[in-house]
């Protein structure tokens, strides 16, 4: 966030005489919280008593992991801070996967947990767990609140830390007596964060050096990550790409920053990226990384990554710079601000030769798949993109279906894909889609899921049904944990160990959960099923029986360089 966008925060109103629970609720409203995802329990009873009469909408999940993923999906799709609430002990430990997921992907999230009475902490009390200890390495920051006097300030700090700088999850563990106690006077709610830095003034010398490098480059490539989504830098990025005719490849989390119908879009790079994106990176003479962190799934063998390139790296997190690769021109700061300033010095160019080279790759190595009577997951996702005008919000689980969604949906705008990139959390799709629908009531929200991932958290379909959240769950059933099976096929001599299973009747389960259930098993019936699903005005689970041993290609095998991309049997 830049200083320009920083607004004066509304005060919570007078808090003198309020209980801690009332302070909590007032502070949430002052932070603009409209929706809260959670699950009640003993240590948060005073808070739920206040929520009983609060205008804040409460969405009850069926499991705390569901609640935190919902808050995550809400945050990724809206850009606002997602908020989750759980009780002490097991309620809190059930948040762990969701917090780690949000932490790896820099998602602004505040999770509140109840804690046993402050004088019982450390006594192994009923439903006690050292939640700040457990969550310290998987949050941006966390707090234990023992006194009602500190609660207001800490809530404000938590939201501030979650949404500023490189965003991330913040956990606030509140002892139950701090929610019951009352305030004698007006509390000081001003943040006390003397060491917390949110803003880096762009170094103009470096900005100009970067622009000059771009002007001098013959074969530049923009490599764009989730940081551009977070910074709201899409327009500045597209302007740079257009002006200087720089092709753009994105990470999984950067999908949508580039309109993939543009000739300048190379789609995703890395392990399952397009051949064009990977070849372009390997041949480029200048790599401009924006809000991306040179993750191992992106770079492949780091020794052979972008061997001819000078590297510019723009990131708001100084620790991301020169962590994995040595950078020639580092630029710390807000991606939008830096790109806007840089654009003033970048000369328009046509770069015809580079453009032709890229167009040639695109033509020779498009993303492909086989077609026969089976439903091919790639084709289904491609059709889903067309039928929704490439405008739906799409959540995914983790595995083959996630990669196919990334490759075939056809992304047009940021905040469109909700996927666990860093942690790779199976089970993320169903609840995150529900959270996104709660924050985007007028959008079509689809969970493109795998049978393995979906089964992990599908209980939340109940939450969708009971809250009238019309999410479309598309479950691609190949009777395997497909990605693990693919690795066993490719690297373990087809010894399929622990990956095959019989799927339940997902449509019947959906009906039992109060949603609409549908099943499709042939290519001929696919289009009609997708249309019927999209036309239904409530939540739908579409059970799709797909070709069982489909593999994700292209693939850069682990340890290989991006230029060694395997195009699969259709190459």
């Amino acid at each position: 966030m830049t200083a320009k966008r920083k607004r004066k925060q509304a005060g919570p109103g007078t808090l003198a005489g309020a209980t801690g629970a009332e302070v909590f609720e007032a502070m949430l409203r002052a932070e603009g919280v409209e929706t809260l995802f959670g699950f009640p329990g003993g240590a948060v009873l005073p808070i739920f008593d206040v929520l009983y009469k609060s205008p804040i909408r409460f969405v009850r999940s069926r499991h705390e992991q569901g609640a935190v993923h919902m808050a995550d999906g809400y945050a990724r799709s809206t850009g606002r801070v997602g908020v989750a609430l759980a009780t002490s002990g097991p309620g809190a430990t059930n948040l762990v996967t969701g917090l780690a997921t949000a932490n790896m992907d820099s998602v602004p999230l505040v999770a509140f947990t109840g804690q046993v009475k402050s004088f019982l902490i450390g006594n192994d009390a009923f439903q006690e767990a050292d939640v700040t200890g457990i969550t310290r390495p998987i949050t941006k920051h966390n707090y234990l609140v023992k006194r009602v006097e500190d609660l207001g300030r800490i809530v404000r700090e938590a939201f501030h830390v979650a949404r500023t700088g490189r965003p991330g999850p913040v956990l606030v563990d509140i002892a139950v007596d701090a929610t019951v106690g009352t305030l004698a006077g007006e509390p000081d709610v001003e943040p006390n964060l003397p060491g917390y830095r949110t803003r880096w003034e762009p170094n103009m010398k470096q900005v100009k050096a970067a622009a000059e490098a771009i002007n001098a480059a013959e074969r530049p490539v923009l490599y764009v990550g989730g940081g551009v989504v977070i910074a709201g830098a899409t327009d500045a990025l597209r302007a740079l790409s257009e002006t200087a005719q720089i092709p753009v490849t994105t990470t999984l989390l950067g999908l949508g920053t580039m309109d993939e119908s543009s000739p300048l879009a190379l789609q995703m790079l890395g392990m399952h990226g397009t051949a064009t994106a990977n070849y372009a990176v390997q041949e480029c003479d200048l790599l401009i990384a924006v809000g991306a962190r040179f993750d191992d799934r992106v770079t492949g063998d780091i020794e052979t990554f972008a061997p001819h390139a000078k590297i510019i790296h723009i990131d708001i997190d100084p620790a991301s710079i020169s962590k994995n690769v040595d950078v020639d021109i580092p630029l710390v700061g807000d991606a939008k601000e830096i790109l806007e300033r840089m654009n003033e010095y970048v000369r328009p160019q046509d770069r015809a030769a580079w453009g032709e080279r890229i167009a040639d790759w695109k033509q020779r190595y498009p993303l492909r798949y086989e077609t026969d009577g089976d439903v091919r997951p790639q084709e289904l996702i491609e059709r889903l993109g067309e039928l929704t005008d490439h405008d739906a919000i799409v959540a995914t689980g983790v595995g083959q279906h996630q990669m196919w969604a990334a490759q075939f949906y056809g992304w047009r705008r940021p905040r469109q894909i909700l996927t666990s990139g860093g942690l790779g959390t199976m089970g993320f799709g169903c609840p995150s889609a529900i959270g996104a629908q709660a924050g985007n009531p007028d959008k079509t929200v689809i969970d493109i899921d795998g049978d393995g991932s979906f089964t992990m958290t599908m209980v939340e379909v109940i939450t969708a049904a009971q809250n009238n959240l019309p999410v479309k769950f598309v479950v691609l059933d190949n009777t395997y944990l497909g990605m693990v099976r693919q690795w066993q096929e490719m690297f373990y001599g087809r010894r399929y160990s622990g990956v095959d299973h019989v799927c339940p009747d997902f449509a019947a389960i959906a009906e039992g959960f109060g949603a609409k259930g549908m099943t499709v098993a042939s290519r001929d019936a696919m289009d009609e099923a997708l249309r019927a699903m999209l036309a239904h005005d409530g939540p739908v689970v579409l059970h799709v029986k797909v070709s069982p041993e489909e593999n994700v290609y292209p693939m850069v095998a682990p340890g290989k360089g991006l230029h060694e991309v395997d195009l699969g049997k259709l190459a």
């Binding site: 700040t132 200890g133 310290r136 390495p137 941006k140 920051h141 234990l144 830390v161 006390n192 964060l193 003397p194 060491g195 917390y196 830095r197 997190d317 100084p318 620790a319 020169s322 962590k323």
Partner: protein
Amino acid sequence: MKHIISALVQNQPGVLAHVAGMFAARGFNIDSLVVGRTEDPELSRMTIVVIGDDRVLEQVRKQLGKVVPVVKVRDFAATPCVQRDLMLIRVHTPPPKRPEVVELVNLFRGRVVDVARDSVLIELAGTEEKIEAFIDLVRPYGIRELARTGLIAVPRGG
């Protein structure tokens, strides 16, 4: 290479866990870590000795800077500074050997702070090199017990 990192941190519960946890999670090795109060009651100073190459140390500094209650981080590798480590060491000294040991203590400007029948407890402050040298010299007599504070450092004036 050995680096002395000095971090000013907010004097709050849990701050040590935040810092130590970050070092553990990122696989950085701590040689010693000292926490103490400063002239400002709101702030504490952590002096952390870390061994690593320049790349590791750059990450240590940056990751430390990201820990929310950490206010300021300095690396004293290139800064002239006064460094002190404090040691308490009990050395085995049967009465005939005692004068030799006491002489060593005097040479090192240490102090004998407790005398027992066959041992002395010695207090010695100084740079790590000085402390190590003293330990080597008294080792043949027999070290009964040893405690060190770890290094603290403040840059020289001017």
